[in-house]
Symmetry: C2
Subunit: 212 residues, 2 copies
DNA sequence: CGATCCCTTGACTTTTATCAATAAACGTGG
DNA sequence: CCACGTTTATTGATAAAAGTCAAGGGATCG
Protein backbone atom coordinates (compact mmCIF):
# COMPACT_ATOMS: atom_id res chain seq x y z
CA UNK A 1 0.00 0.00 0.00
CA UNK A 2 2.74 2.44 0.90
CA UNK A 3 3.87 3.13 -2.59
CA UNK A 4 7.15 4.91 -3.27
CA UNK A 5 7.06 8.69 -3.55
CA UNK A 6 8.92 11.13 -5.80
CA UNK A 7 10.58 14.30 -4.58
CA UNK A 8 10.17 17.70 -6.19
CA UNK A 9 12.49 20.35 -4.87
CA UNK A 10 11.35 23.88 -4.09
CA UNK A 11 10.99 25.88 -7.28
CA UNK A 12 10.89 22.86 -9.58
CA UNK A 13 7.85 21.99 -11.67
CA UNK A 14 5.97 18.72 -11.34
CA UNK A 15 3.97 19.25 -14.51
CA UNK A 16 3.92 21.93 -17.19
CA UNK A 17 0.94 23.54 -18.77
CA UNK A 18 0.54 21.64 -22.05
CA UNK A 19 2.11 18.37 -20.93
CA UNK A 20 0.18 15.20 -21.68
CA UNK A 21 -2.01 14.59 -18.64
CA UNK A 22 -1.19 10.93 -18.22
CA UNK A 23 -0.79 10.96 -14.47
CA UNK A 24 -2.60 11.95 -11.33
CA UNK A 25 -0.61 13.03 -8.27
CA UNK A 26 -1.22 12.93 -4.58
CA UNK A 27 0.79 15.36 -2.49
CA UNK A 28 2.18 13.47 0.46
CA UNK A 29 4.27 16.25 1.96
CA UNK A 30 4.89 19.92 1.24
CA UNK A 31 3.07 22.61 -0.71
CA UNK A 32 2.68 23.39 -4.41
CA UNK A 33 1.25 26.18 -6.50
CA UNK A 34 -1.00 25.67 -9.53
CA UNK A 35 -0.25 28.42 -12.05
CA UNK A 36 -1.48 29.65 -15.34
CA UNK A 37 0.52 32.08 -17.46
CA UNK A 38 -0.85 34.64 -19.90
CA UNK A 39 0.92 35.13 -23.23
CA UNK A 40 2.67 38.27 -22.00
CA UNK A 41 3.97 36.59 -18.86
CA UNK A 42 1.39 37.63 -16.30
CA UNK A 43 0.88 34.80 -13.86
CA UNK A 44 -2.22 33.70 -12.01
CA UNK A 45 -2.13 31.13 -9.24
CA UNK A 46 -5.34 29.11 -9.33
CA UNK A 47 -4.80 27.34 -6.04
CA UNK A 48 -2.29 26.07 -3.56
CA UNK A 49 -2.09 22.35 -2.95
CA UNK A 50 -1.05 20.85 0.37
CA UNK A 51 -0.35 17.42 1.78
CA UNK A 52 -3.26 15.06 1.32
CA UNK A 53 -4.61 16.81 -1.77
CA UNK A 54 -4.66 15.62 -5.34
CA UNK A 55 -3.52 17.21 -8.61
CA UNK A 56 -4.87 16.39 -12.03
CA UNK A 57 -8.29 15.02 -11.18
CA UNK A 58 -10.12 16.92 -13.85
CA UNK A 59 -7.64 17.31 -16.65
CA UNK A 60 -8.38 16.46 -20.23
CA UNK A 61 -5.68 15.48 -22.72
CA UNK A 62 -3.21 18.05 -21.50
CA UNK A 63 -2.56 19.79 -18.22
CA UNK A 64 -4.08 23.24 -18.31
CA UNK A 65 -1.66 24.50 -15.66
CA UNK A 66 1.87 24.32 -14.38
CA UNK A 67 2.35 22.82 -10.92
CA UNK A 68 5.46 23.98 -9.05
CA UNK A 69 6.84 23.07 -5.67
CA UNK A 70 6.87 25.82 -3.05
CA UNK A 71 8.69 23.71 -0.49
CA UNK A 72 10.34 20.36 -1.03
CA UNK A 73 7.46 18.13 -1.97
CA UNK A 74 6.85 14.39 -1.86
CA UNK A 75 4.27 13.11 -4.35
CA UNK A 76 2.76 9.77 -5.23
CA UNK A 77 2.30 9.37 -8.96
CA UNK A 78 -0.54 7.29 -10.34
CA UNK A 79 -1.19 6.37 -13.94
CA UNK A 80 -4.36 8.12 -14.93
CA UNK A 81 -5.74 5.07 -16.70
CA UNK A 82 -5.32 2.91 -13.62
CA UNK A 83 -6.66 5.65 -11.41
CA UNK A 84 -9.79 6.11 -13.47
CA UNK A 85 -10.41 2.41 -13.70
CA UNK A 86 -10.12 2.08 -9.93
CA UNK A 87 -12.51 4.96 -9.34
CA UNK A 88 -14.99 3.61 -11.83
CA UNK A 89 -15.00 0.19 -10.25
CA UNK A 90 -15.69 1.26 -6.70
CA UNK A 91 -18.89 3.13 -5.81
CA UNK A 92 -17.42 4.57 -2.61
CA UNK A 93 -14.35 5.82 -4.46
CA UNK A 94 -16.61 7.26 -7.13
CA UNK A 95 -18.48 9.30 -4.58
CA UNK A 96 -15.24 10.50 -3.07
CA UNK A 97 -13.93 11.42 -6.50
CA UNK A 98 -16.97 13.54 -7.30
CA UNK A 99 -16.86 15.08 -3.83
CA UNK A 100 -13.25 16.15 -4.32
CA UNK A 101 -14.02 17.81 -7.63
CA UNK A 102 -17.01 19.57 -6.11
CA UNK A 103 -14.83 20.83 -3.30
CA UNK A 104 -12.42 22.26 -5.83
CA UNK A 105 -15.29 23.95 -7.63
CA UNK A 106 -16.60 25.40 -4.39
CA UNK A 107 -13.19 26.84 -3.62
CA UNK A 108 -12.99 28.29 -7.12
CA UNK A 109 -16.34 29.99 -6.66
CA UNK A 110 -15.28 31.57 -3.41
CA UNK A 111 -12.13 32.75 -5.11
CA UNK A 112 -14.16 34.33 -7.92
CA UNK A 113 -16.06 36.36 -5.34
CA UNK A 114 -12.80 37.36 -3.70
CA UNK A 115 -11.17 38.41 -6.98
CA UNK A 116 -14.22 40.10 -8.40
CA UNK A 117 -15.62 41.96 -5.46
CA UNK A 118 -13.25 42.24 -2.51
CA UNK A 119 -10.75 44.99 -1.72
CA UNK A 120 -7.06 44.26 -1.35
CA UNK A 121 -7.30 44.23 2.43
CA UNK A 122 -10.29 41.92 2.36
CA UNK A 123 -8.48 39.56 0.01
CA UNK A 124 -5.43 39.27 2.22
CA UNK A 125 -7.56 38.83 5.34
CA UNK A 126 -9.68 36.16 3.65
CA UNK A 127 -6.54 34.36 2.59
CA UNK A 128 -5.08 34.42 6.08
CA UNK A 129 -8.33 33.12 7.53
CA UNK A 130 -8.33 30.29 5.00
CA UNK A 131 -4.73 29.41 5.80
CA UNK A 132 -5.47 29.53 9.49
CA UNK A 133 -8.38 27.16 9.10
CA UNK A 134 -6.40 24.85 6.90
CA UNK A 135 -3.86 24.63 9.66
CA UNK A 136 -6.66 23.28 11.79
CA UNK A 137 -6.83 26.37 13.97
CA UNK A 138 -10.03 27.48 15.59
CA UNK A 139 -11.31 30.95 14.72
CA UNK A 140 -10.53 32.06 18.26
CA UNK A 141 -7.11 30.48 18.38
CA UNK A 142 -3.97 32.52 18.63
CA UNK A 143 -1.59 29.78 17.62
CA UNK A 144 0.97 30.36 14.90
CA UNK A 145 0.59 28.95 11.42
CA UNK A 146 2.78 28.64 8.34
CA UNK A 147 2.65 30.66 5.17
CA UNK A 148 5.02 28.64 3.00
CA UNK A 149 4.54 30.68 -0.17
CA UNK A 150 6.29 33.94 -1.03
CA UNK A 151 4.59 37.32 -1.14
CA UNK A 152 4.70 37.08 -4.92
CA UNK A 153 2.78 33.81 -4.77
CA UNK A 154 0.21 35.40 -2.53
CA UNK A 155 -0.07 38.37 -4.89
CA UNK A 156 -0.59 36.17 -7.93
CA UNK A 157 -3.20 34.18 -6.05
CA UNK A 158 -5.05 37.24 -4.79
CA UNK A 159 -4.90 39.29 -7.98
CA UNK A 160 -2.64 41.93 -6.39
CA UNK A 161 0.97 43.07 -6.59
CA UNK A 162 3.67 42.02 -4.21
CA UNK A 163 3.90 45.58 -2.87
CA UNK A 164 0.22 45.75 -2.06
CA UNK A 165 0.36 42.41 -0.26
CA UNK A 166 3.38 43.54 1.69
CA UNK A 167 1.79 46.84 2.68
CA UNK A 168 -1.34 45.12 3.89
CA UNK A 169 0.56 42.53 5.86
CA UNK A 170 2.40 45.40 7.52
CA UNK A 171 -0.82 47.21 8.21
CA UNK A 172 -2.42 44.14 9.78
CA UNK A 173 0.65 43.70 11.95
CA UNK A 174 0.69 47.34 12.99
CA UNK A 175 -2.98 47.21 13.90
CA UNK A 176 -2.34 44.11 15.97
CA UNK A 177 -4.58 41.72 14.04
CA UNK A 178 -1.67 39.44 13.25
CA UNK A 179 1.92 39.17 14.38
CA UNK A 180 4.52 38.09 11.88
CA UNK A 181 7.22 35.71 13.01
CA UNK A 182 9.65 35.91 10.15
CA UNK A 183 8.24 35.91 6.65
CA UNK A 184 6.64 32.54 6.62
CA UNK A 185 4.94 32.26 9.92
CA UNK A 186 2.03 34.20 11.31
CA UNK A 187 0.56 34.27 14.72
CA UNK A 188 -3.10 35.21 14.68
CA UNK A 189 -3.65 37.73 17.45
CA UNK A 190 -7.22 38.63 16.79
CA UNK A 191 -8.89 36.11 14.57
CA UNK A 192 -12.26 37.79 15.00
CA UNK A 193 -10.71 40.96 13.65
CA UNK A 194 -9.33 39.12 10.65
CA UNK A 195 -12.69 37.51 10.04
CA UNK A 196 -14.42 40.87 10.18
CA UNK A 197 -12.02 42.32 7.64
CA UNK A 198 -12.42 39.31 5.35
CA UNK A 199 -16.02 40.37 4.53
CA UNK A 200 -17.00 36.78 4.14
CA UNK A 201 -20.47 35.96 3.13
CA UNK A 202 -22.76 35.04 5.96
CA UNK A 203 -25.54 34.96 3.41
CA UNK A 204 -27.93 37.79 4.22
CA UNK A 205 -30.81 35.82 2.83
CA UNK A 206 -33.47 37.88 4.53
CA UNK A 207 -32.15 41.08 3.02
CA UNK A 208 -32.34 39.81 -0.52
CA UNK A 209 -35.70 38.18 -0.22
CA UNK A 210 -37.97 40.74 -1.77
CA UNK A 211 -39.85 38.86 -4.48
CA UNK A 212 -41.54 35.54 -3.80
CA UNK B 1 -39.79 11.85 -21.89
CA UNK B 2 -40.86 15.39 -22.61
CA UNK B 3 -41.58 16.39 -19.05
CA UNK B 4 -43.49 19.55 -18.23
CA UNK B 5 -41.46 22.71 -17.69
CA UNK B 6 -41.85 25.59 -15.26
CA UNK B 7 -41.63 29.24 -16.23
CA UNK B 8 -39.54 31.82 -14.39
CA UNK B 9 -40.13 35.37 -15.49
CA UNK B 10 -37.32 37.84 -16.04
CA UNK B 11 -36.04 39.14 -12.73
CA UNK B 12 -37.54 36.35 -10.63
CA UNK B 13 -35.44 33.90 -8.66
CA UNK B 14 -35.51 30.17 -9.28
CA UNK B 15 -33.58 29.36 -6.11
CA UNK B 16 -32.22 31.42 -3.23
CA UNK B 17 -28.87 31.17 -1.60
CA UNK B 18 -29.58 29.13 1.54
CA UNK B 19 -32.59 27.21 0.21
CA UNK B 20 -32.56 23.46 0.68
CA UNK B 21 -30.95 22.03 -2.42
CA UNK B 22 -33.52 19.34 -3.08
CA UNK B 23 -33.78 19.82 -6.82
CA UNK B 24 -31.66 19.97 -9.92
CA UNK B 25 -32.74 22.13 -12.86
CA UNK B 26 -32.22 21.98 -16.55
CA UNK B 27 -32.63 25.25 -18.42
CA UNK B 28 -34.75 24.55 -21.47
CA UNK B 29 -35.07 28.09 -22.74
CA UNK B 30 -33.71 31.49 -21.76
CA UNK B 31 -30.81 32.71 -19.66
CA UNK B 32 -30.14 32.92 -15.93
CA UNK B 33 -27.51 34.43 -13.66
CA UNK B 34 -25.94 32.62 -10.74
CA UNK B 35 -25.20 35.18 -8.03
CA UNK B 36 -23.58 35.37 -4.67
CA UNK B 37 -24.10 38.31 -2.33
CA UNK B 38 -21.65 39.61 0.27
CA UNK B 39 -22.99 40.70 3.66
CA UNK B 40 -22.83 44.38 2.69
CA UNK B 41 -24.74 43.84 -0.53
CA UNK B 42 -21.95 43.59 -3.07
CA UNK B 43 -22.92 41.09 -5.72
CA UNK B 44 -20.78 38.69 -7.72
CA UNK B 45 -22.14 36.73 -10.65
CA UNK B 46 -20.43 33.37 -10.77
CA UNK B 47 -21.74 32.35 -14.16
CA UNK B 48 -24.49 32.73 -16.68
CA UNK B 49 -26.57 29.70 -17.54
CA UNK B 50 -28.17 29.17 -20.92
CA UNK B 51 -30.51 26.70 -22.55
CA UNK B 52 -29.24 23.15 -22.31
CA UNK B 53 -27.26 23.75 -19.15
CA UNK B 54 -27.89 22.47 -15.66
CA UNK B 55 -28.10 24.18 -12.27
CA UNK B 56 -27.42 22.55 -8.94
CA UNK B 57 -25.19 19.67 -9.96
CA UNK B 58 -22.68 20.18 -7.19
CA UNK B 59 -24.66 21.59 -4.33
CA UNK B 60 -24.54 20.23 -0.81
CA UNK B 61 -27.42 20.61 1.65
CA UNK B 62 -28.19 24.17 0.65
CA UNK B 63 -27.79 26.20 -2.48
CA UNK B 64 -24.71 28.36 -2.19
CA UNK B 65 -26.09 30.85 -4.69
CA UNK B 66 -29.17 32.61 -5.93
CA UNK B 67 -30.30 31.82 -9.48
CA UNK B 68 -32.33 34.54 -11.19
CA UNK B 69 -33.91 34.71 -14.61
CA UNK B 70 -32.46 37.24 -17.02
CA UNK B 71 -35.06 36.56 -19.69
CA UNK B 72 -38.21 34.53 -19.35
CA UNK B 73 -36.92 31.07 -18.63
CA UNK B 74 -38.32 27.57 -19.01
CA UNK B 75 -36.80 24.99 -16.66
CA UNK B 76 -37.27 21.31 -16.05
CA UNK B 77 -37.14 20.46 -12.36
CA UNK B 78 -35.81 17.11 -11.17
CA UNK B 79 -35.81 15.75 -7.66
CA UNK B 80 -32.19 15.54 -6.61
CA UNK B 81 -32.60 12.10 -5.06
CA UNK B 82 -34.04 10.69 -8.28
CA UNK B 83 -31.42 12.50 -10.33
CA UNK B 84 -28.54 11.14 -8.30
CA UNK B 85 -29.91 7.63 -8.33
CA UNK B 86 -30.27 7.75 -12.10
CA UNK B 87 -26.72 9.03 -12.54
CA UNK B 88 -25.33 6.44 -10.20
CA UNK B 89 -27.06 3.60 -12.00
CA UNK B 90 -25.85 4.41 -15.51
CA UNK B 91 -22.12 4.43 -16.33
CA UNK B 92 -22.60 6.63 -19.39
CA UNK B 93 -24.60 9.14 -17.39
CA UNK B 94 -21.98 9.03 -14.68
CA UNK B 95 -19.29 10.00 -17.13
CA UNK B 96 -21.43 12.78 -18.50
CA UNK B 97 -22.13 14.03 -15.00
CA UNK B 98 -18.45 14.21 -14.12
CA UNK B 99 -17.68 15.82 -17.47
CA UNK B 100 -20.23 18.56 -16.84
CA UNK B 101 -18.77 19.34 -13.44
CA UNK B 102 -15.27 19.43 -14.88
CA UNK B 103 -16.45 21.83 -17.55
CA UNK B 104 -17.81 24.10 -14.88
CA UNK B 105 -14.52 23.95 -13.03
CA UNK B 106 -12.58 24.75 -16.19
CA UNK B 107 -14.75 27.78 -16.78
CA UNK B 108 -14.25 28.88 -13.17
CA UNK B 109 -10.49 28.64 -13.60
CA UNK B 110 -10.51 30.77 -16.70
CA UNK B 111 -12.64 33.28 -14.85
CA UNK B 112 -10.14 33.37 -11.98
CA UNK B 113 -7.42 34.32 -14.45
CA UNK B 114 -9.68 36.96 -15.94
CA UNK B 115 -10.59 38.47 -12.57
CA UNK B 116 -7.14 38.22 -11.09
CA UNK B 117 -4.92 39.32 -13.92
CA UNK B 118 -6.76 40.99 -16.79
CA UNK B 119 -7.45 44.69 -17.33
CA UNK B 120 -10.99 45.99 -17.67
CA UNK B 121 -10.73 46.12 -21.43
CA UNK B 122 -9.35 42.58 -21.61
CA UNK B 123 -12.17 41.33 -19.40
CA UNK B 124 -14.87 42.82 -21.57
CA UNK B 125 -13.22 41.57 -24.76
CA UNK B 126 -12.81 38.07 -23.30
CA UNK B 127 -16.44 38.07 -22.31
CA UNK B 128 -17.59 39.13 -25.76
CA UNK B 129 -15.45 36.44 -27.36
CA UNK B 130 -16.96 33.85 -25.04
CA UNK B 131 -20.48 35.00 -25.83
CA UNK B 132 -19.71 34.97 -29.52
CA UNK B 133 -18.43 31.43 -29.34
CA UNK B 134 -21.36 30.31 -27.26
CA UNK B 135 -23.62 31.63 -30.00
CA UNK B 136 -21.84 29.19 -32.30
CA UNK B 137 -20.08 31.90 -34.24
CA UNK B 138 -16.74 31.34 -35.84
CA UNK B 139 -13.87 33.58 -34.74
CA UNK B 140 -13.90 35.18 -38.17
CA UNK B 141 -17.63 35.59 -38.36
CA UNK B 142 -19.26 38.99 -38.39
CA UNK B 143 -22.75 37.78 -37.54
CA UNK B 144 -24.70 39.39 -34.73
CA UNK B 145 -25.17 37.74 -31.36
CA UNK B 146 -27.28 38.37 -28.28
CA UNK B 147 -26.19 39.81 -24.96
CA UNK B 148 -29.32 39.13 -22.90
CA UNK B 149 -27.91 40.42 -19.60
CA UNK B 150 -27.75 44.06 -18.50
CA UNK B 151 -24.54 46.05 -18.15
CA UNK B 152 -24.83 45.61 -14.40
CA UNK B 153 -24.87 41.86 -14.82
CA UNK B 154 -21.80 42.06 -17.00
CA UNK B 155 -20.10 44.28 -14.44
CA UNK B 156 -20.84 41.93 -11.56
CA UNK B 157 -19.60 39.01 -13.63
CA UNK B 158 -16.41 40.76 -14.71
CA UNK B 159 -15.53 42.39 -11.39
CA UNK B 160 -16.08 45.91 -12.74
CA UNK B 161 -18.61 48.71 -12.40
CA UNK B 162 -21.40 49.37 -14.80
CA UNK B 163 -19.74 52.63 -15.87
CA UNK B 164 -16.48 50.94 -16.74
CA UNK B 165 -18.27 48.28 -18.77
CA UNK B 166 -20.24 50.95 -20.56
CA UNK B 167 -17.16 53.03 -21.34
CA UNK B 168 -15.34 50.03 -22.74
CA UNK B 169 -18.26 48.94 -24.87
CA UNK B 170 -18.34 52.46 -26.27
CA UNK B 171 -14.61 52.40 -26.89
CA UNK B 172 -14.79 49.08 -28.70
CA UNK B 173 -17.62 50.44 -30.83
CA UNK B 174 -15.75 53.63 -31.60
CA UNK B 175 -12.65 51.71 -32.61
CA UNK B 176 -14.76 49.54 -34.89
CA UNK B 177 -14.11 46.22 -33.17
CA UNK B 178 -17.80 45.70 -32.49
CA UNK B 179 -20.99 47.41 -33.57
CA UNK B 180 -23.83 47.61 -31.10
CA UNK B 181 -27.37 47.05 -32.31
CA UNK B 182 -29.40 48.22 -29.40
CA UNK B 183 -28.25 47.28 -25.92
CA UNK B 184 -28.61 43.56 -26.19
CA UNK B 185 -27.22 42.70 -29.56
CA UNK B 186 -23.70 42.98 -30.85
CA UNK B 187 -22.33 42.53 -34.28
CA UNK B 188 -18.72 41.44 -34.24
CA UNK B 189 -16.91 43.54 -36.82
CA UNK B 190 -13.39 42.41 -36.17
CA UNK B 191 -13.29 39.22 -34.17
CA UNK B 192 -9.54 38.99 -34.56
CA UNK B 193 -9.24 42.39 -32.95
CA UNK B 194 -11.43 41.28 -30.06
CA UNK B 195 -9.39 38.15 -29.67
CA UNK B 196 -6.19 40.14 -29.58
CA UNK B 197 -7.55 42.43 -26.89
CA UNK B 198 -8.79 39.48 -24.84
CA UNK B 199 -5.20 38.48 -24.01
CA UNK B 200 -6.21 34.87 -23.90
CA UNK B 201 -3.71 32.31 -23.00
CA UNK B 202 -2.18 30.52 -25.92
CA UNK B 203 0.14 28.87 -23.43
CA UNK B 204 3.67 30.11 -24.10
CA UNK B 205 5.10 26.87 -22.86
CA UNK B 206 8.47 27.38 -24.48
CA UNK B 207 8.96 30.71 -22.75
CA UNK B 208 8.41 29.34 -19.29
CA UNK B 209 10.48 26.24 -19.70
CA UNK B 210 13.68 27.18 -18.00
CA UNK B 211 14.23 24.53 -15.37
CA UNK B 212 14.05 20.82 -16.16
C1' DC C 1 30.18 35.62 6.88
C1' DG C 2 28.90 37.18 2.62
C1' DA C 3 25.93 37.10 -1.38
C1' DT C 4 21.52 36.63 -2.98
C1' DC C 5 16.94 36.79 -2.86
C1' DC C 6 12.92 38.47 -0.93
C1' DC C 7 10.51 41.81 1.35
C1' DT C 8 9.37 46.47 2.90
C1' DT C 9 8.63 51.25 2.40
C1' DG C 10 8.14 55.70 0.03
C1' DA C 11 6.97 58.74 -3.89
C1' DC C 12 4.37 59.07 -7.76
C1' DT C 13 1.26 57.29 -11.71
C1' DT C 14 -2.39 54.82 -13.63
C1' DT C 15 -6.55 52.52 -13.58
C1' DT C 16 -10.87 52.03 -12.14
C1' DA C 17 -14.54 53.54 -8.94
C1' DT C 18 -17.68 57.08 -7.54
C1' DC C 19 -20.82 60.76 -8.10
C1' DA C 20 -23.74 63.27 -11.01
C1' DA C 21 -26.11 64.64 -15.03
C1' DT C 22 -28.11 63.43 -19.37
C1' DA C 23 -29.73 60.35 -22.95
C1' DA C 24 -31.38 56.32 -24.99
C1' DA C 25 -34.24 52.14 -24.87
C1' DC C 26 -38.17 49.81 -23.26
C1' DG C 27 -42.81 48.87 -21.69
C1' DT C 28 -47.42 50.39 -20.87
C1' DG C 29 -51.60 52.25 -21.55
C1' DG C 30 -54.20 55.58 -24.04
C1' DC D 1 -49.06 53.24 -32.90
C1' DC D 2 -47.59 56.96 -30.27
C1' DA D 3 -46.54 59.40 -25.85
C1' DC D 4 -45.11 59.05 -21.45
C1' DG D 5 -42.85 57.24 -17.51
C1' DT D 6 -39.46 54.11 -15.98
C1' DT D 7 -35.52 51.71 -16.29
C1' DT D 8 -31.02 51.16 -18.14
C1' DA D 9 -27.08 53.04 -20.32
C1' DT D 10 -23.76 56.64 -21.49
C1' DT D 11 -20.69 60.29 -20.56
C1' DG D 12 -17.99 63.62 -17.85
C1' DA D 13 -15.57 65.23 -13.72
C1' DT D 14 -13.34 63.87 -9.70
C1' DA D 15 -11.62 60.63 -6.09
C1' DA D 16 -9.79 56.54 -4.36
C1' DA D 17 -7.50 52.31 -4.69
C1' DA D 18 -4.00 49.76 -6.29
C1' DG D 19 0.01 49.61 -9.47
C1' DT D 20 4.70 51.09 -10.79
C1' DC D 21 9.26 52.57 -10.01
C1' DA D 22 13.00 52.95 -7.00
C1' DA D 23 15.77 52.52 -2.92
C1' DG D 24 17.04 50.23 1.08
C1' DG D 25 16.71 46.49 4.71
C1' DG D 26 16.29 41.66 6.43
C1' DA D 27 16.25 36.77 5.84
C1' DT D 28 18.21 32.88 4.42
C1' DC D 29 21.56 29.70 2.59
C1' DG D 30 25.89 28.33 1.10
Amino acid sequence: MTQKTETVHAGEALVWQGDAADDVFEIVEGAMRICRILPDGRRAILRFVFAGEVIGLTEGEEFSFTAEAITTVAVRRMRRSRFEAAVDADPALRREHVALICQELTAAQEQMVLLGRKSAEERVASFLVAMMRRAGLDDRSCAAFDLPMTRLDMADYLGLTIETVSRIMSKLSRSGVIAAQGRHQIRGRNAAGLLAIAADESAPRALERRAA
